[in-house]
């Protein structure tokens, strides 16, 4: 049916433009099923193993919802506590065990490269649901879907990425993908949390328009998409460094008076203070819809990888 059948999804960079476009189009067809308006038994008889070695709310629940909506079943754990992992079992052994119980494996793990290692120990497809500060390709796909669905495409869109651009893994993967699709990018961060140089170089090599600033006010008038991230305390080696930059940016309804009418504001959630609650009621806020989009996007991936009838 497609080149996706049985395939691992480890990094967004493993996917071509055509692959991503196929996921986006398939996801759109999944929306009525994700909303419960239409029933599907496309993955009936299939079992998805979900191994979450660290806590996750949205990612785990949306994978479970996606599999259930398609008529499949889910087994797994939502923390390593109480499992053989705590007894010191290697990831390689856990994967070989779960392989026997499921048709595909979703893995969230605190260490970088875990999903790639897992994929080496099983013939079953592995989907990376986040590996430490590494990759989180399904988050990138749902971010792309949200922009594509709202704006109709990527080319020429002014996308401003705001917040922790140094440690935030979602903004790194999203930057690669948006550069591939020809969006105009602006990076807004405190000086100590700027986008890593090698990623800036990749964008420049594509010959795209790129701006780097420390001030949110510089971008608010021209932006079509504001992608805001939380400054994550857990990624800072030094708590004092965190205190210096926490709360640098705060988007509220007042700031948005200068924005384009059709500006959309996205956030991978959970948010802290970077988006004020009064933004939730404006037409700009899209972060809860974005969280919902995780379901049809993950449905699309599961459908393409596990292949039943559409």
């Amino acid at each position: 049916m497609s080149g996706f059948r049985g395939r691992d999804i480890l990094s967004i960079r493993d996917l071509s433009r055509a692959d991503i476009q196929l996921v986006l189009k398939t996801a759109r067809r999944m929306v009525p099923i994700a909303l419960g308006r239409k029933a599907s038994r496309a993955l009936e008889g299939k079992i998805l193993g979900t191994l979450f070695y660290e806590p996750s709310t949205r990612t785990r629940l949306s994978f479970e919802s996606a599999m259930n909506r398609l008529g499949g079943r889910v087994l797994g754990f939502s923390s390593a506590e109480g499992t053989s992992v705590q007894k010191g079992e290697t990831l390689a052994d856990t994967i070989r065990m779960v392989e026997a119980y499921s048709d595909a494996i979703v893995l969230r793990h605190p260490q970088e490269g875990a999903a790639r290692l897992a994929a080496e120990f099983t013939e079953k497809p592995v989907i990376n649901a986040g590996d430490g500060a590494g990759q989180h390709p399904t988050q990138t796909l749902l971010d792309l879907y949200t922009i594509w669905d709202e704006k109709g495409g990527f080319s020429g869109q002014n996308v401003a990425l705001v917040g922790d651009l140094k440690y935030g893994r979602t903004v790194h993967s999203l930057t690669y993908a948006l550069a591939e699709f020809g969006a105009n990018l602006t990076f807004v961060s405190p000086p100590t949390l700027e986008m890593p140089r090698e990623i800036v170089e990749v964008v420049k090599e594509k010959g795209l328009s790129l701006k780097i600033t420390h001030r949110l006010e510089d971008v608010i008038r021209d932006a079509d998409v504001l992608y805001v991230t939380r400054i994550q305390k857990e990624r800072f080696p030094d708590p004092q460094e965190y205190e210096k930059v926490a709360g640098t940016y705060r988007i509220d309804a007042n700031l948005l008076r200068e924005a384009k009418r059709d500006l959309i504001i996205m956030h991978p959630l959970p948010r802290l203070t970077e988006i004020a609650p009064d933004v939730d009621r404006t037409k700009h806020s899209l972060y809860f819809k974005q969280a919902f989009n995780g379901v049809p996007v993950r449905m699309a991936l599961l459908q393409l990888i596990l292949g039943g009838a559409a």
């Binding site: 490269g113 500060a133 990759q135």
Partner: protein, 151 residues
């Protein structure tokens, strides 16, 4: 005046054309430290027609394993390895950087899964040979200070 103050060896390995200053790193790769049972000769900053200056390491009564030669390539990509048997050069190889460095480097990212107790060998993809740039197959990070991460 004699040009070279080092005598030929009967059996062993001569590693020639090491970039000047890298001989000590080659010795480290070969594990030459306290417990050495044969003669090791090191010549540093020797004039070389091809390179200007070079280092040479001679190890008696020892031939190198393929993995050791791969490691040497990481710090001395210009080196040549001559196997000496009965005073004659029996084999001559130029070291060659492999496209993938397997089991010879440790990832510098402490949170990389390849540094955990998992049954895998480290693996690095060589994305550029000059300058040498290698990336961990697992966490995709670039390895900085390659010489310090040779296992």
């Amino acid at each position: 005046m004699r040009e070279l103050r080092v005598t030929p060896i009967k059996n062993g390995t001569v590693i020639d054309h090491i970039p000047a200053g890298m001989a000590l790193k080659v010795l480290k790769i070969l594990g030459i430290g306290d417990a050495v049972s044969s003669t090791v000769t090191v010549a540093m900053h020797v004039p070389s027609q091809a390179m200007g200056w070079k280092d040479i390491v001679k190890v008696e009564d020892r031939e190198l394993a393929a993995r050791e030669i791969d490691k040497i390539a990481l710090v001395a990509p210009t080196a040549s390895v001559n196997v000496i048997r009965n005073y004659n050069v029996a084999e001559k190889h130029r070291v060659a950087l492999p496209d993938r460095a397997v089991g010879i480097l440790r990832c510098g990212n402490p949170n990389c899964i390849s540094n955990a107790k998992e049954p895998v060998e480290s693996e690095f993809v060589v994305r550029s040979k000059n300058p040498l740039r290698v990336f961990c197959k697992f966490c995709d990070r670039e390895l900085e200070d390659i010489a310090a991460h040779i296992v």
